[in-house]
Homo-oligomer: 700 residues x 2
Amino acid sequence: MLDAFFSPKSVAVIGASRDPEKLGYAVLNNIIKANYEGQVYPINPKADEILGYTAYPSIKDVPDPIDLVVIVIPYRFVPPALEECGQKGVTAVVVISAGFREAGREGLERELELIEIAHKYNMRLIGPNCLGVIDTNTPLNATFATDIPPTGPIAFMSQSGALGTAVLDMAMAGHIGFSKFVSLGNKADVSEIDLMSAWAEDPDSRVILMYVEGVPDGQKFIETAKQVTRKKPVVAIKSGVTASGSRAVSSHTGSLAGSEAAYKAAFNQAGIIRATSMEALFDYARAFAYQPPLKGDRIGIVTNAGGPGILATDALEHISLQIPRLSRETNEALSGYLPGAASAANPVDVLGDAMSDRYEFALRRVLDDPVIDGVIVIVTPQAMTQIEETAHAVGRMAKESNKPVLGCFMGESRIQAGVDILWQYGIPNYPYPERAAEALGAMSSYRKEQERRIFGVVPIDVDKRPVHELFDRVRSEGRVSIGDAEAWEVLKAYGFNVPKSRLARGPEEAVEIADEFGYPVVMKVASPDILHKTDVGGVKVNLRTPGDVRDAFDLMIYRAGRYVPGARVWGCQVQEMVQGGREVLLGMSRDPQFGPLVAFGLGGIYVEALKDVSFRIAPFSPREADEMIREIRAYPLLEGVRGEAPADHMAMVDALLRISQLVTDFPEILELDINPLMVFEQGRGAMAIDMRLVLSAQKQ
Amino acid sequence: MLDAFFSPKSVAVIGASRDPEKLGYAVLNNIIKANYEGQVYPINPKADEILGYTAYPSIKDVPDPIDLVVIVIPYRFVPPALEECGQKGVTAVVVISAGFREAGREGLERELELIEIAHKYNMRLIGPNCLGVIDTNTPLNATFATDIPPTGPIAFMSQSGALGTAVLDMAMAGHIGFSKFVSLGNKADVSEIDLMSAWAEDPDSRVILMYVEGVPDGQKFIETAKQVTRKKPVVAIKSGVTASGSRAVSSHTGSLAGSEAAYKAAFNQAGIIRATSMEALFDYARAFAYQPPLKGDRIGIVTNAGGPGILATDALEHISLQIPRLSRETNEALSGYLPGAASAANPVDVLGDAMSDRYEFALRRVLDDPVIDGVIVIVTPQAMTQIEETAHAVGRMAKESNKPVLGCFMGESRIQAGVDILWQYGIPNYPYPERAAEALGAMSSYRKEQERRIFGVVPIDVDKRPVHELFDRVRSEGRVSIGDAEAWEVLKAYGFNVPKSRLARGPEEAVEIADEFGYPVVMKVASPDILHKTDVGGVKVNLRTPGDVRDAFDLMIYRAGRYVPGARVWGCQVQEMVQGGREVLLGMSRDPQFGPLVAFGLGGIYVEALKDVSFRIAPFSPREADEMIREIRAYPLLEGVRGEAPADHMAMVDALLRISQLVTDFPEILELDINPLMVFEQGRGAMAIDMRLVLSAQKQ
């Protein structure tokens, strides 16, 4: 669908210039220099010919159809030029010109105008305020960046054009190759969502990288990414995660940075691998792009130096990869071949005087061992080390295997030739063992994410009707807040257990109800006019006898009348008192970018004082709900300490899924808190004791 | 004191060889090639001359005195050769030969023999099983590594020789320079402690780096490092931190990896900056070595690209550095000079079309601004960017300032010339903004560490005598474990408050005591023969009336006799019942490498189930005790939640310091637990309710 951007049959440059100082010259020149094979049309009312190509005063004067137009003229001329593109039937336009949303209110209006024109003519638009588009296979370099990077399987999109130039320059130095490169600019139309979808189907791209400052449509972003990451890894770096960073984003492109908690949840659920630095982004990309998938978490290390082997071991274990014992056969074969002082255990230390034959033998054996899923080969340049021969040996062994092999040739001057040779075999080299380990960690995350995908979102059978009716009624009364018995109606409709509860209109009726429920009971004054019941003594807990109940009834009725004169008082709600469970809290608030952000934590101090909360964006799967519960630091308390039985895990998963569905079914729920959900011992379920929810004034 | 290793007037190589395949050739050749200016004596019984130098059959045949001897012969000949060195009066020997501790039990015996000989003759010994020693200023390259690195202010020691070769090779590629390089090998004699002390006084070294697998004498290591880090930064990478890594260390050099908690505490207290990767080690080193100190935490960013500016901001804030608003003057000057679309706020965005003049103006203003302590200059290679001119401008501005400036020229091919120019001005370049930010973070840690040093360890006035007497008495009875009333004697001697408590020999006496203390009380059966009192019903709490006390007395005496026949029962201990504080736990165990490791945590589930504990090695300062308390995740609970008053912070600091002194005064205390220390509200102190301690069988 976005093909016209990447493999157009013809390209026009509006604003093409003869002046080498102008961007319009650079763009045209780059297209030509990169050996673009289609038709090229410079558009410039003041020239007949530019760089050997016939120039036209307007796009409408070009006699042939045009697939892609690049606009690089002052901002005030962009809207009419875009209008002409529409009239000409162009479907893909890159607007490099700046002076739009990033330039304040007037710029934003100009940008909205662009969007309107694009929609009118069904054109897709990249930019404005961007660097342009590259496809190394077409080849097309429709940017004003000097160089076209080497061809390779990495597709890269960046919200920051300047960061893109740095990446392109880095690529020129070799050992990394790109299929596509897009600077997204202000994302007036084409965004990460469109490019991910398109690139998921692109046979030239094995991995998708993105630099993101903010995404426009969070739910669609997650949905799309979920589909795309089934097909190929997506690695992203999200900037603006801290308060200052987030301010810096806003001042940069005016995009909303969003809450870090929501991004973290969203990227996790979408299966996007998050890189914490630019360096990590490209470290991961090279492993994904050039090596076969890592099918398990068991890593072998072959090294000629103990120290770096230990550093690799530490780094791998730190990210929960395993350094397993080798199988007996491998161990014996290695012991038989290697010198006595060598280590035939994992990490395999072939010793400082190892020539390439020792590496070749050891690597072959380790790669062949079924207990090993991937290998790091560490080479330090010692006196007798054969850098180049060893690189060739590593390359040959890796080619024969379907397991990933990452190089860690350490040093610089002496190892460079070896690193170049590794590269000929498609083996990325990492100058430090920690970085190789982390790249394997990213590969492992991707695989686990794939495995996790089997568990999709499962709809739960509920009766939405009473909830619809309740919400309509509440709104018709001009209210937006729901609690107590009304909240229980919602909870019951969604399959939650709630405490037994009934309205008593007099003290004797209260005693009858309490007798039926069993003591102790809780009582609450029932009045639509008293919101903060506790403040007026309208809540009593742990009432143990009929006498307690009678006293409580009369006292609450008396106080209600005294403290809130004129309040309608219907009586008292008598309620089963639930004891003996662990209290957890389920909450939801709406993130401006991603929608319903559901929170889970232990009740009391754990959420409030210790901020020990996990988040996911609804709707989520049973597997995700399970992870949410395990993610909190206080999870051991739910597993049971000091001989306690574990809390009912499935009941918590179930409760989270029901909340996920509730807030998805009813977008008008703005906020929600179940506090507490009382969770009983394993097998005994859970009960929602209290819920508050806030609706939007309008039905959504 | 170790001068003979680094600037010897003469060097002999025992095992010097004419065969270029032999290490003995490499070492001699390296000494000569590196232009060593002193006397050189090859020692080889089978040659008259090697590489143009007169050879001698034995060290004893050399007519002149020798400062430094390098031994590179098969292991079985090393002890006699070392003996001859001693007889000759040599004071410094490097043993490169392997085949010692790392080679099993027999090797260990050979190594002990070396140590004995060295001690006998008062020789210092580096190695065995090492790469050798380099001093770039002498110049001396007494290693078998091919190259001598460029001269510079970084002194590097490594327990791993192979890792050393990688580092040397990296250095050859430039942009980093070393003063000294030592491969420590098995550390039979000279260890990190000796080198740190020596290098602290070395005017050629501005920063000390170390790769450590294990340290031999933890307390001395900390003491030495504390002194050294007052003078210059020490940056270390510790390997073997994970379980697998730690096994890998043991198999590598047989050194004890030690517990990660103890290392973490030790490095922290010693003021050593811990790098989490090799890359970080050298990133930090270059900032310390080549830039002035960072005197505060306020960082300015100058960039020609928004995206990387945000990444830098995120990374800085993540490690708690500040990105302050610029002063009004700076802001106005920048606004006046920069184009309208530029950002005159911090990060200062000079825009993609910035030439070097804009960088120069902006950087000068930001460096001059008193609200800024250090600067990161980000340059992406855009179409109009003047890489080299900008690098010169940055260099000039940095030279005029006493604030650190780090470069972040991003890319590779196009920026390389700029990076080389920065280097001429001593400005390290980091290819990604996150790495520059982390280097500043290391500089900030070092400064804070210096500030923290003002607070030293303060001895507390205590009466050790009763504790000595008690321990003697306990040991004389063949016991090693102390609890209850005996433990209170220790606590009282060290100035702790303990609950009022007295022995009652009969029920009426128990009631008298309870009347005096006030109800409720706690009672415990008093018997030296009943260790687990709770198991035999020998503890009763919350006794509220004289009747309760009488019943408890009789019941406990009856049960003690029934469950532990023959037990000596002295009566019951009646004890004030302490209520209304927050329970914390103070513990101590002895780490095999660092000694008394003191632990702090909240009582109950926080320590047991949530592992929320902080550690320091005793003795520690009030400032360190304060940090220990703030470090636990549950600290907000001590500050008070839900309107609670804060717990008495100074009382906890005081308790930790008293424990620190107790375990330092009495090395025979192997383990100790105060559980709980009841901490009352701010200003109301704390009380130690219960303590157990375990003594070594022998007085230490």
